[in-house]
């Protein structure tokens, strides 16, 4: 075994030497491509452009809307390209995935070097290296090389630099660095992109979002949460000028038959139970129920109003004087009739053509169930009755619109969000600076060769460098 291993190593080495063929070349080439800033810029711009499409073309609307606005042929193209739901198309997801691969590869390729330079860096450099830097100075100082070096170290340490020193035959070499956290921050932001996108994907696969129209006093089963929800109360608060200030629902969670928790939710303040969030999303008038209907009973002959009564929903009212018993049994907000099923229904949720159905008993003998229309009084005659009925008004029952959501990816998204904000802030305000100095003895003391580079923020660094040069010039050693 031992005797064979050098041979194996050799053959690997010879493979590696073959230009442009080995796996390592392909790997390096691929890593180079995927880690490139050019790809990042390309993806940023392409994502920005494609995201624009979804703000110009309405998303997720009904086909008729598109056909009317753009024509049928264009709509067909929209469907082919996914323009009616851009953000959930395979190609948009692919672009996001590519962005993640891009930032991860960049991290993989560049972070190790930063990590290494956090721990150690090259202290001794050649003189031409310092002289060739963007910020460079030659400062003659009177004093011994140890004394001057000591002074520079002190000065840099004062400014928050981490300083390393090394002696060689020529003189003293100094290396100082500050603000590497800025570069760490940039990579933190790179990692965060993947975390956020992953969180988003998890949410869209294992999460759900539903909308519930719920009435006060009713209990609803939440199948995906395996528990029940009771709406105890719903009400609206108003400002003094009549504008809506807030709307609120008191909800009780019933788990395994027992009430577990009660909370009053409002916009901006949801109820959370077992990872399911209940939001106060909207409210409106129910389209199949009323709280109360006001009815005028009129004489068919004279048209005189005999009595006006407020009828409660599905509760019989006894009008002894007229010999009438009335009950509101049904309500539709927008009257529609299905002639095949012979069924009355509400065409829309708008109160466009409201009607109630009355169950009436007149003088113990006549029974009828007429529909009374709010906008068309006297549309139908009740044969044999002395009376005519008019729906004067009604108090609609309010429903509370609840959004019911579960998103198991949300914690990941917040982790990524924190990372991206912290990362970008670090990398924007902290910039990596490096200084090299060589203190070389000369005829009249020493000459300090100082050179520095910065990752960014050239003007600030230029200022700092100039000040530093001045202070080194006046070192007394």
């Amino acid at each position: 075994m031992d005797g064979k291993s050098p041979v194996v190593v050799e053959s690997q080495a010879s493979q590696r030497a073959a230009p442009g063929l080995g796996w390592s070349e392909i790997k390096a080439e691929l890593a180079g491509f995927f880690a490139s800033i050019k790809l990042a810029m390309f993806l940023f711009i392409i994502l920005a452009l494609t995201a624009t499409i979804g703000t110009v073309i309405q998303q997720g609307d009904r086909p008729e809307v598109y056909i009317e606005e753009y024509g049928e042929e264009t709509y067909r193209w929209f469907l082919r390209l996914g323009f009616t739901d851009v953000y959930h198309t395979w190609w948009f997801s692919s672009l996001l995935t590519l962005l993640c691969i891009n930032s991860l590869t960049c991290f993989y390729k560049r972070f190790p070097a930063i990590w290494r330079s956090m721990r150690q860096d090259k202290v001794g450099v050649a003189l031409p290296f310092i002289q060739g830097m963007k910020h460079t100075a030659e400062i003659p100082v009177a004093g011994s090389k140890e004394g001057v070096a000591e002074g520079i170290v002190q000065l840099l340490a004062e400014k928050g630099y981490r300083v390393l020193a090394k002696n060689d035959r020529q003189g003293v070499n100094l290396y100082a660095t500050k603000g590497i956290l800025g570069r760490v921050g940039a990579h933190m932001a790179h990692l965060s992109a993947t975390i956020i996108v992953l969180g988003g994907f998890i949410g869209s696969y294992w999460g759900f979002q539903e909308f519930g129209v719920c009435l006060e006093g009713e209990t609803y089963h939440i199948p995906k949460g395996q528990f029940d929800l009771r709406v105890d109360k719903f009400w609206i608060d108003y400002y003094e000028n009549g504008a809506v200030q807030s709307y609120n629902s008191t909800l009780t969670v019933i788990d395994e038959g027992r009430p577990v928790t009660t909370k009053t939710i409002t916009v901006n303040d949801p109820l959370v139970y077992k990872g399911v969030w209940f939001y106060q999303s909207s409210y409106g008038d129910a389209w199949d129920q009323v709280e109360m209907a006001r009815l005028s009973v009129m004489d068919k002959e004279t048209d005189a109003v005999l009595e006006t009564v407020d009828l409660e929903w599905q509760k019989e009212a006894d009008l002894r004087k007229l010999g009438l018993k009335l009950t509101v049994t049904d309500f539709v907000a927008d009257f529609g009739f299905n002639s095949i099923e012979k069924r009355v229904y509400s065409k829309t949720v708008e109160h466009a053509n409201p009607a109630i159905r009355l169950a009436l008993t007149e003088r113990q003998s006549l029974q009828a169930t007429p529909w009374i229309f709010y906008h068309y009084p006297g549309l139908f005659d009740i044969a044999g009755s002395k009376y005519r009925f008019e729906l004067v008004g009604y108090k609609p029952r309010k429903f509370t619109g609840l959004q019911i959501t579960k998103d198991p990816g949300v914690k990941m998204v917040w982790t990524g969000s924190t990372m991206i904000v912290v990362g970008i802030t670090l990398s924007s305000f902290i910039y990596h600076r490096r200084l090299w100095a060589k203190v070389i003895p000369s005829n009249a003391g020493v000459i300090v060769h100082l050179g520095g580079t910065t990752h960014k923020s050239e003007i600030d660094f230029q200022k700092e460098f100039r000040k530093m040069t001045e202070r080194i010039r006046t070192i007394n050693a």
Binding site: N268, T405, S417
Partner: protein
Amino acid sequence: MVQSLLLFDMTFWLYLAAFALYVGYILARRPGRELAPAGHPTSGMGESDDGWSAQIGQVATIVTAFGLVVNSVALLARAYERMQISGTFAPWSNQYEAMAYVSWAIILGYLVLEFRYRIKSVGAFVVGIGFIAMGAASLLPYRYQTAEPLVPALNSYWIYIHVSVTLTSYAAFAMAGGLGVMYLLKERAERLGRRSSFFAALPDLETIDELGYKAIMVGFPLLAFGVILGAMWANYAWGGYWSWDPKETWSLIVFLIYGAYVHARMTRGWEGRRAAIYAIFGFLMVIFCFWGVNFLLSGLHAYA
């Protein structure tokens, strides 16, 4: 209501005066040195002024600072008025107030820049944007200018932090845009070999470029933070942290645009002229995100 509107008006006139004074300052200024060739910063960062220009410059700074004070008082007055009618005070609760706040942030940012780098000529460009922002706000119909009570979705403590952070990032991008315009003007003058004292009075190209970059480096993290705060708010108010609402999407687009800029600066050739053009383009996108989306596209953010 009347008090704050009056103060906002005053702010507008003060910024206009300050803008004119800064232009006057540049015109009166005789460059201390010969025009430096592109890419070579002159040794001194600060400007050396003499006689007239120094006095105009001082007056300009004082007027700007006074404008900022009036602007602050106007915002406070509006906050007080809001407190009276609805119990929330955020003086950036509609388009008009948001514009007034952005102007405030731009001018504050400019004064910080002036005191820190001792460069006054930038004022002609940046204070100019502040005054245009104030002016555009006052062109809004009256019903957009008054403080109406907040709709339920906005009635939350998130409005204090999400909106202010996002608007501050817009202000930073506005500064970068102004500096971009300044760069292009100066660069053109240099390219054509014009030796007018107006352009010579501007700081050297490298400084303008660097300041523009800095402004974006302030705006970029603020925008990221603002968008994330918006997502957190949405998670409480709308039932999901991201719903691809036009405003949301456009903030993301702006973020991506500046993200590309930040990465581009790492590569060769993306400073100077190109960066200046890009910063102006970015600012135009910010304007669309801020104004265009509210008036042209409908969505959840259509509150103004």
